[in-house]
Symmetry: C2
Subunit: 97 residues, 2 copies
């Protein structure tokens, strides 16, 4: 609960979660192949306007909180939403908050 809330308590991380709801729309460069794998760090970092290392840390926080899934494919790491766990968290909040 605390970890999840802390993960959401940051502008940049909220925006990333939002973008990943519709990757096609927010990352048109990322077309085709890796659509269901998610979006690679470089593109997210570029769109957010942060350094690569900063974005890497943000994505790690979101992953540890259970909101994102990461898949390493060669030299790229693709991130996508873990909608099941996001929904589960929202429901737990609705029950317990």
């Amino acid at each position: 609960m605390l970890g999840e809330c802390k993960a959401l308590a940051n502008e940049t991380r909220l925006r990333v979660l939002e973008w990943l709801k519709d990757p096609e729309r927010h990352f048109p460069e990322s077309a085709g192949e890796a659509a269901e794998l998610g979006v690679c760090v470089g593109l997210i970092q570029q769109k957010a306007g942060t350094s690569a290392s900063t974005m890497s840390a943000h994505l790690a926080v979101l992953q540890r909180a259970g909101f994102l899934l990461a898949t390493r494919r060669g030299q790229w790491t693709y991130y996508r939403r873990d909608d099941d766990r996001i929904r589960a968290f929202a429901e737990r909040l609705h029950r317990d908050l």
Copy 2:
């Protein structure tokens, strides 16, 4: 959204919200009279083990986020949950997150 999440991103504040779900149980000293008004700062502060000023700041954060309602009665300020707005927030999170 950000403000609400930040408000929840703190152990002490989460515990206060939890306690106020059942004031009778968690604040038996506060019996009777002011039951529906809520619980005064002093009792909450004492239970949490913080200074009065620290708790005052936490309660202000929760109030600004819309999770608590405050009623000043004489020299006491009583806090209680704003369950309507808490529920509304949980639902918005369920929709938008």
